[in-house]
Symmetry: C2
Subunit: 189 residues, 2 copies
């Protein structure tokens, strides 16, 4: 099992090595170059991904073609379209690498099989759902009523990595503002 994934399990469960060895073979390593789409909206999501190096994002496009980024998965994080994974319905969002990215991928069916049969995976899944929920709630709460400047400051404080590592275009689509506004705000700071 990849050391980063092992570390993840050790941190979130009390799985023993035996359990980890049972789980490991389901995860397959794969490397993608920058800007590769791992999932396009309208497709059913086949995999859950664990990022080993690099970064990917979840985003959707509204009817006017404006992008909305909802989540960034950096090294050591799981990322996938959980809504599609859970419901089995086509995703309304895309998954795209933002850098050259290495992931461990596991088939949806295998993943849910392990959720049912391996307590460690059940626990990890619970953790993923819980923290995904909390993260989303906090972001809604913190952005609520906040103007553009406050959002940029929030990002600077809570996830500075995003600002320093990713393009303005992508960051703006995460903050729900235009790249024009973001550009102006950054130069005014």
């Amino acid at each position: 099992m990849h050391p980063l994934l092992r570390q993840y399990f050790k941190q979130h469960t009390n799985a023993d090595d035996l359990a980890l060895e049972k789980i490991a073979p389901y995860f397959v390593e794969e490397t993608f170059k920058k800007n590769t789409f791992l999932l396009r909206e309208g497709e059913v999501c086949k995999y859950n991904y664990f990022v080993v190096t690099g970064c990917m994002r979840l985003f959707s496009t509204n009817k006017d073609g404006v992008e909305n980024t909802r989540y960034f998965a950096f090294e050591g994080k799981f990322g996938t379209s959980f809504t599609s994974l859970i419901t089995g319905q086509p995703a309304f969002e895309n998954i795209q690498t933002l850098e050259k990215t290495t992931v461990l991928r596991i088939y949806t069916e295998d993943f849910y099989h392990l959720v049912e049969t391996e307590p460690a995976v059940n626990k990890v899944y619970r953790n993923i759902l819980e923290s995904a929920y909390i993260t989303t709630q906090k972001r809604i709460y913190d952005f609520q009523g906040a103007d553009s400047l406050e959002r940029v400051k929030w990002l600077l404080e809570h996830q500075p990595k995003i600002l320093s590592r990713l393009s303005n275009k992508v960051v703006a689509s995460y903050l729900g503002i235009t790249p024009y506004t973001l550009s102006r705000l950054k130069s005014s700071l």
Copy 2:
């Protein structure tokens, strides 16, 4: 076990009657009058609630005193501050009844104990987290870039009960617009 809660378990799990009888005693019925606070921000959330009749909302207040409603729990739904329940930290949101409301409440500790020991409750918890996550994601996605009118139409289509049953003030705080704007839009429809 209250028939509505029984129905919920039957629908989401394959729990047998024996399991349900084990679970039932942990849920205590209680009735609150309109506008009662079941939780105030800053308090640690002690209960998970299942609404039998009536309705409650989860909302927070930003630094300017503007309310943001995140979730409505009508009859047959669970509702609580999951972020507080999960982390054990003080909630940053309030829970308030919007009508005379009867709930079944279960202590946080008892609930998580059952999550670990009763597969039916583990399954139900997973369902709650999954659907809470999906609901939130969909709302972010659908509201993203939508102007006020589109938001009102969205609500009319997806959750008309909210518009017909609750006050403009509360609805507006859910849509992220002012009551003034909502009032104007409703009269223009």
